[in-house]
Every structure is written in structure tokens, then in C-alpha cells.
């Protein structure tokens, strides 16, 4: 029995090694790095909230107000808190309370962590950041504008839109931009 086991020992150890290689391959490394980068972005966010307000929240909300006004809808920004970033997007008959999470900043962090964690060339990651950040700025603005238009034309459907429709669109947007980048990254060799 032992002899038979001993004869199979190289196969067992090889299988374990192979399994380990598989587990500790790019997938695991990606997951671990994803967690690390997510933590880094979280720390950066908590430490410099005011900077995020200036760099992300104010541009997104102000742009949304500008676009809504351009579309002929009365919108204005009220009570922007420079620390928490919370403000009120005031429309004709609806007031939206807009916070960090409303502008999709946490989805942005997820996407950034994915791009930074994905094993590819540094230049490609930089390209990814250059793609993801402006795309999120535009999309977050588009989302607020869309909710503003809904508030004006179909205020009774606000809940339907922001709880269901826009959530699906959000996921679709993030996945689309992510898969687009990953597909382009897939043609490159992975640095070890």
C-alpha cells in the first residue's frame, strides 16, 4: 500500500504544485492586487476628501447643472459642503440630495482598482486610467442630467429610474469600459 502510494508521490506533489500554480496565478494575484488597490483608493479618499470634492464632485455636479440649464431646465446647486461634498441639486419641483455615492465615485474606485490590479504593462494601465477617469466624469454628469430630465418630464418615475433603470445602466457602463480596456490589454504580454 505504502509502496503504491510512494510510487504515486511525484504525481501527487506535482498535482499539488500544479494546483498551487493555478491558484497563485494571475487570477489570484489580480484579486489580491485588486483588494490592495481598493484599500489604497479608500485610504486616499478618506484622507483627502476635500480634494475629491474639488476634483470630482464639484466638476460633475456643476457640469450637470450647466447642461440642465442649457437644456432649458431650471437647476441650481445649493449648500455644497466642502468637506463632505454633499449638496442639493435643486430642480423645479424636486430636490436631489447629491453625495459622493451619487456621483459614482465608489464605482470609479472599483474600476480604478481593477485597472491598476490587472497584470499588464504600466503604459497600458496609464492608458486605462486615462480612459476610465474622464469616462466616469462624463457618465456621472450624464447620470445626473438624466435624473434631472426625468424629474422635469416624468417626476413620478424618479424612483423607477434611479433604483432600477440607472443601476442597470451603471453596471453596463462600468462593465463596458472595463471589458473594452481588458480586451485591448489582452493583446499585450504580461510582465512577470
Amino acid at each position: 500500500m505504502l509502496t503504491r502510494l510512494a510510487s504515486h508521490r511525484p504525481a501527487i506533489t506535482g498535482g499539488i504544485a500544479s494546483l498551487w500554480r493555478r491558484i497563485s496565478g494571475d487570477g489570484l494575484r489580480f484579486c489580491v492586487m485588486f483588494g490592495i488597490w481598493l484599500g489604497v483608493t479608500g485610504v486616499l479618499f478618506e484622507r483627502w476628501r476635500a480634494v475629491w470634492v474639488d476634483l470630482f464632485m464639484v466638476p460633475v455636479t456643476s457640469s450637470a447643472v450647466l447642461v440642465l440649464n442649457f437644456l432649458g431646465l431650471q437647476a441650481q446647486l445649493n449648500g455644497l459642503d466642502a468637506t463632505t461634498g454633499v449638496c442639493q441639486l435643486v430642480l423645479e419641483n424636486v430636490i436631489y440630495r447629491v453625495s459622493f455615492e451619487c456621483r459614482g465615485i465608489f464605482a470609479l474606485f472599483l474600476c480604478l482598482a481593477s485597472v491598476l490590479a490587472y497584470p499588464t504593462r504600466l503604459t497600458h494601465r496609464i492608458k486605462g486610467l486615462g480612459l476610465v477617469i474622464p469616462a466616469f466624469l462624463c457618465y456621472s454628469t450624464f447620470r445626473l442630467v438624466t435624473l434631472g430630465v426625468v424629474a422635469h418630464h416624468a417626476p413620478q418615475h424618479i424612483d423607477l429610474f434611479h433604483l432600477y433603470v440607472m443601476v442597470l445602466v451603471n453596471i453596463g457602463f462600468v462593465l463596458t469600459i472595463w471589458m473594452y480596456w481588458v480586451r485591448s490589454a489582452g493583446t499585450e504580454r504580461i510582465p512577470r
Partner: protein
Amino acid sequence: MRCSLLFLVRFVAASSIAVCAWEAISNAYLRPVIPVVNWLLTQQDLPLHLEQRRDLLLYVYEPVVGGLRLQALDYDSVYLNLIAVRFAGLSAPTSPYSGAMVNDFHTETARSASLSYFLPPWLWIAVVGLLLPCMSAAQNDSFTQNEAGLTGITQVQFGNEIQIYAFEVIDAADPGITVELGKISGGVVGVQLTISDLTTTTGLVSADFTNLRLYRSLDLFLDGTDTFMASASPVNIGAITEIDPTLAGASRLVPEAGSAFFVVSARISPAATGGHAFRVGTTNLNIGVEESGVGSDPNIIGNQVLADNASHIVLGGGPAKKAGGGAVTIPFGGEKATLFLLVSSGAYALRRRSSPRCPCRFNTTSPGSNRLMTVD
């Protein structure tokens, strides 16, 4: 002789041209000049403006204090016309700036009540303008200032109360006259204001309001120190709602040579509909005051506050009726699903890249053959 004739001909020709030019131009130059002058006067906050009546130039002095209107006509002789309540024999104006008042100037009634002097109108404007505050104080002892409607867009929750209008009544320091807010009879009894829906209607109805309330205040802001005076219900939408304070006792009294603040609030019905919004406006002369000592003719004061879409109050939290109101929060949503999909799709993409020939690496017969990742 020849020189003299030549001079005569030139003189006649030149003067003819000048006369023709004068006839041609006449007062047409006033058309562009008057708006410019009026604009400048407005910029300087001067209660004076020019009006063109046919070929005449009318100097109009409209003092802020009282209901007097001083008009002077730039003509052969200067007519000085004081149009005031009980002063020039004219009826009390419904509005100090109405077209009827200007037309009165051309009526014989006005002319007979006018004084005629051969003095430049601007001089009369200057001289009488200096005297006018004293004269007007003798006629009306009160006026308002600091009328404040809504500013910006705010939100009020169902069942709550929110300030919508405030004003200050000034006693113009005539010791013979006691000023009290509200008057017993005639026209504007108390405080009139108009609640209206936005231009793009939100469906505002009278039932959205419990009532409007009037307070005596220490300032222009509603707070716990204010004294309740009166209320009005139902609240009219798109029409005047009047609050009658005549039973409010001592709260009505404006201190001699001082001022009193009053605040109007709207109490929102607990059963109001979220998303409804309203504006507030007032007309000119929307506040009635009693001026004892002036006789039986009480005063009407107040300046216009325009209802504006840009300044309104939204009821509740939005069109979806939410308990207690509050702004609608719009979280991005889908972060958990996004997290799962990003990680799983990333890992899957890496596996695909590692084994491009076989998407499922566990089906490969040779474990080593699926690792095409190269070492740089």
C-alpha cells in the same frame, strides 16, 4: 452796400436753414435722449424721470415717501403740479405710477389745481423735491421698506411652517399720527399676497396649505420670539389672499418715529402632495395701515414683490410622496454587483489570456501547455 446785402442774404439763408432744421428736428431728439437720461437717473436711484407727452417734455418726480407725485412741464410756462392725496383736490391714486395719474396732468382739473410759475422745471423739481418729504409726511405717516419675498429654492416638509414674506413698516415721525398695521375698512384691510404655482405647473392646490400666518417680529425672520397676530385660510392659488390683523391688539402698533417688523409664513398641510411648488408675489400698495389723526382716510403702503420661478418653495421630498418629506437621495447603485462582475470578469479574462486555445483550462490535457504567459 454790397457787403451789407451779401451779409443780409447770408443771414436770411442761414437763419432759414436753422429754422427749417429746428422745425424738422423739433423734439425728436428727445426720443433717444429720454431713455438714456432715465437710465442714468435709475442708476443713481433718483426718484425722477422724464416723459415725453406729444411734443412736450414732462419732468416727473416720484418720491419714495408718501403718495405725492410732482410733475413739471417744459413749455412756455411751467406748470407745477402736485398730485397728492387731499392736496391738489384729486382723488387718491390707486397707484403712484399709473398712467391715469400722468394723464391727470393734462386735465383742467389738474391745471386748475396747479401752480403756474415761469421758472425752469428742473429748478422746481429741485426746490420742491427738497420740501416734499416734509409735505408727504404731513399726508402719510408710514411707509414700508425691506419687503422680502422668497430667495432661491428651498424645501419645506409636510406639516411645517416656512417664512414666505416679510416687511418693515416705518413711522415717519409725525407726532400727531399713530400708525398701526391693518385698517378697519376699505380696500386693503391687512396684508395681501399672492401664492401661485410655477409657470410649469406642479399641481399646487389650496389644500396643500393649512393657512397663512402673520407675526409681529423683532427682525425680518421668523423665529420663536415672534408674536402671532392673525391667520388666513383657505389660501388662494393664483389670487390674492389677505390676512386681517385688525384684531391683533397692541402687536399692530408701530412705535412713533420707529419701525416694526412683520413676517408672513405659510403652514403646509400634513396631507400636502410632495413635489408641488409655489411662488410668492405682491402688488404695489398691498398693506393697509391705520393712521389715526389723518382723518378717515387710512393709508395703503407696500411695494411690489414679483413672483419668480427662480425663487420658490418645494413641498415635501419630491413627487413620490415620502413621509416627512426630505430631498430625494440618488445613490449610484450597483456597486456590489459591479465589484463581483469586475473581479470575476478580470479573472476570467486572465484565464482566457493564459489559455487562448481553450477557454476552460481544466479541460486541457496538458497542464503546462496552457501557460502561454511569457517571461519578459
